[in-house]
């Protein structure tokens, strides 16, 4: 009898002990994620669906289709798309110039370190640096008007509008693209050598080998650049003094109480951002997984 009891009890004790140890190791992580990541996000979803006079409502999302908020999404998406695409193209060209363009080897570590620094140099100081360069009395602006007779601000350019933001964002987008693509391009330069030795022209190499191999990593990196710019707040706020209609700026206005509108509407704006980011990230993960599978 006692033996049977021990035999049936022991595994159960083991399981309890196992769950208890699991708890000790995973609880801090899980608790933190639930309290500060999941619950706040769920709170935003709940908030975006409530606030009306009778319980659940889609009114807040309906309001997103008002021209002001729709426009904020439009400008945010356009800004992110523009900086992602331009940043991706320029970044790849720069990275290829460094990897396969025959530049001196000693430049490479400097180039990579600088890319690491520049991709992290963002926000308020970046806005200052571009004001000092391309602002109304910036060094580049003055240089162009004194020496080349080109008055940027009379020809419609403003650092504090859409085109100015694109130029400024590229300062961290291009280096990020460089960092993301250099590993893939390093492999590519070996393929290139093989193709050239077999008599391929550069055009043939890129069309038949380079682009097909790089297609998915390029798409993935461009998506990361899009996400990188989509949530950006400080750079845009500092450059435009909060006067540009971007979704993060509008959310910031509600939070800082500068503009009176419903907190539930801000929740809906935020949920819209999360949904767009999840979409971008999901596409990235799917294409990225294919890349990994291909490399095996």
């Amino acid at each position: 009898m006692t033996e049977v009891a021990i035999a049936t009890k022991a595994p159960r004790l083991n399981r309890a002990a196992r769950i208890w140890t699991m708890g000790v190791w995973f609880l801090p992580f899980g608790l933190f994620a639930v309290l500060f990541l999941f619950l706040p996000s769920i709170g935003l979803f709940v908030g975006s669906l409530t606030g009306g006079p009778h319980g659940l409502t889609l009114d807040n999302f309906g309001q997103l289709f008002q021209s002001q908020y729709l426009d904020a999404y439009k400008v945010s998406v356009e800004l992110s798309a523009a900086t992602a695409v331009i940043g991706a193209v320029v970044g790849v060209v720069l990275a290829w110039a460094m990897v396969g363009g025959g530049l001196p080897r000693f430049l490479r570590p400097f180039f990579l370190t600088f890319s690491g620094v520049a991709s992290n140099f963002a926000g308020i100081p970046l806005a200052f640096a571009f004001t000092a360069s391309l602002g109304p009395v910036g060094m580049v602006t003055l240089f162009l008007s004194h020496h080349l007779g080109l008055n940027l601000y009379q020809s419609g350019f403003s650092l504090f509008g859409f085109s100015g933001l694109v130029i400024t964002y590229l300062y961290f987008q291009i280096p990020l693209m460089v960092l993301l693509m250099v590993p893939a391009l390093d492999n590519m330069s070996r393929w290139g050598e093989a193709a050239m030795n077999l008599g391929a022209s550069p055009w043939q190499f890129w069309w038949h080998i380079g682009l097909p191999i790089l297609r998915l990593p390029l798409l993935g990196a461009t998506l990361l650049l899009f996400g990188n710019s989509f949530g950006a707040y400080a750079t845009a706020y500092a450059l435009t003094s909060g006067m540009i209609n971007l979704v993060p700026i509008v959310i910031g206005q509600e939070l800082s109480g500068n503009v009176v509108f419903s907190p539930n509407l801000a929740d809906a704006l935020a949920v819209g951002m999360i949904l767009i980011m999840i979409t971008i990230f999901a596409i990235y993960l799917i294409t990225n997984r294919n890349v990994v599978r291909w490399q095996r």
């Binding site: 000790v24 190791w25 995973f26 801090p28 992580f29 899980g30 933190f32 994620a33 500060f36 990541l37 619950l39 706040p40 996000s41 709170g43 935003l44 908030g47 060209v93 110039a97 396969g100 025959g102 530049l103 990579l112 370190t113 690491g116 620094v117 991709s119 992290n120 963002a122 926000g123 308020i124 100081p125 200052f128 640096a129 000092a132 360069s133 060094m139 300062y171 990020l176 960092l179 330069s189 290139g192 050239m196 550069p202 996400g227 990188n228 949530g231 950006a232 707040y233 400080a234 500092a238 509600e254 939070l255 800082s256 907190p263 929740d267 935020a270 951002m273 999360i274 980011m277 990230f281």
Partner: protein, 257 residues
């Protein structure tokens, strides 16, 4: 691969100009405080300002807090998943990179709307700030912890230590953590670079962090702001430089945009 060097040279020069000109312009602007003042006037006015040091201290402290919180929660979870529960690994990784889909301004909105009007420890603003910074640093710290665990023989070290009679805390503090040290340094410096310039979260929570101090300076003193931008660039260079020296080839996404 052979190719004409001409185009790559031109590309490199144009790229170099785009990245160096804003720094030169900032440097030039920062030394033009006024005809009557020496060229270093903007720098002395900043370095002698108590609010500069106070904001720098606050940001450094918050960065340190974020790193400590991040490591305290990630290291045990990642270690145990790695050692005993491999099917949890994907989950720990998934949760750790989730902050990428929640932009900082959205995160702080969620925290303020959920806890802002309540009472108790979670509603204290410093707690919200540390928590938000902890969330923002999760992906970077996870990456470095994961790299560290992969680069050492976790199982053999753990079993050897346990076999020799170590307790679990001793395994963690005297075996696992010392072996993770180099890998963790990289993530730590990256998080410092990130949080030193952070603006969105701290301004919404009403803290005078380094980022907020920079913005306020820019509204009233343009030359001092340019000097600050250069100082901040030097800080990022220092932190990222150390990070890259310690931890080659870590790609970084996000930041204090």
């Amino acid at each position: 691969m052979k190719g004409s060097r001409g185009w790559s040279f031109i590309v490199a020069v144009v790229g170099f100009l785009y990245f160096i000109v804003p720094l030169i312009a900032t440097a030039q602007f920062s030394i033009q405080e006024g005809p009557a003042k020496p060229f270093w006037a903007a720098y002395t006015s900043i370095l002698t300002s108590p609010s500069f040091w106070a904001s720098l201290r606050l940001s450094l402290f918050m960065a340190l807090a974020a790193v400590v919180i991040g490591l305290v929660i990630i290291v045990p979870a990642a270690y145990w998943a790695f050692l005993r529960v491999p099917r949890m690994q994907a989950w720990v990784e998934f949760v750790s990179i989730l902050p990428f889909v929640v932009p900082p301004i959205v995160l702080v909105l969620g925290l303020v709307h959920l806890y802002g009007n309540g009472y108790g420890p979670l509603s204290a603003r410093p707690v919200m700030l540390m928590a938000a910074y902890g969330v923002v640093s999760l992906p970077y710290l996870y990456r470095s912890v994961d790299n560290g665990l992969r680069s050492m023989d976790v199982r053999a070290l753990t079993e050897a230590a346990l076999g020799l009679g170590s307790s679990w805390p001793r395994v963690m503090f005297q075996v696992v953590l010392p072996n993770l040290r180099t890998a963790l340094l990289g993530g730590t410096f990256l998080v410092f670079a990130l949080i030193m310039g952070e603006y969105a979260i701290s301004s919404m929570l009403g803290f005078n962090t380094f980022g907020v101090y920079m913005l306020l300076t820019g509204q009233t003193r343009a030359h001092a702001a340019a000097a600050l931008a250069l100082i901040s660039f030097a800080l990022v260079w220092l932190l990222v430089g150390v990070m890259q020296a310690v931890n080659r080839g870590n790609v970084t996404i996000g930041g204090s945009r």
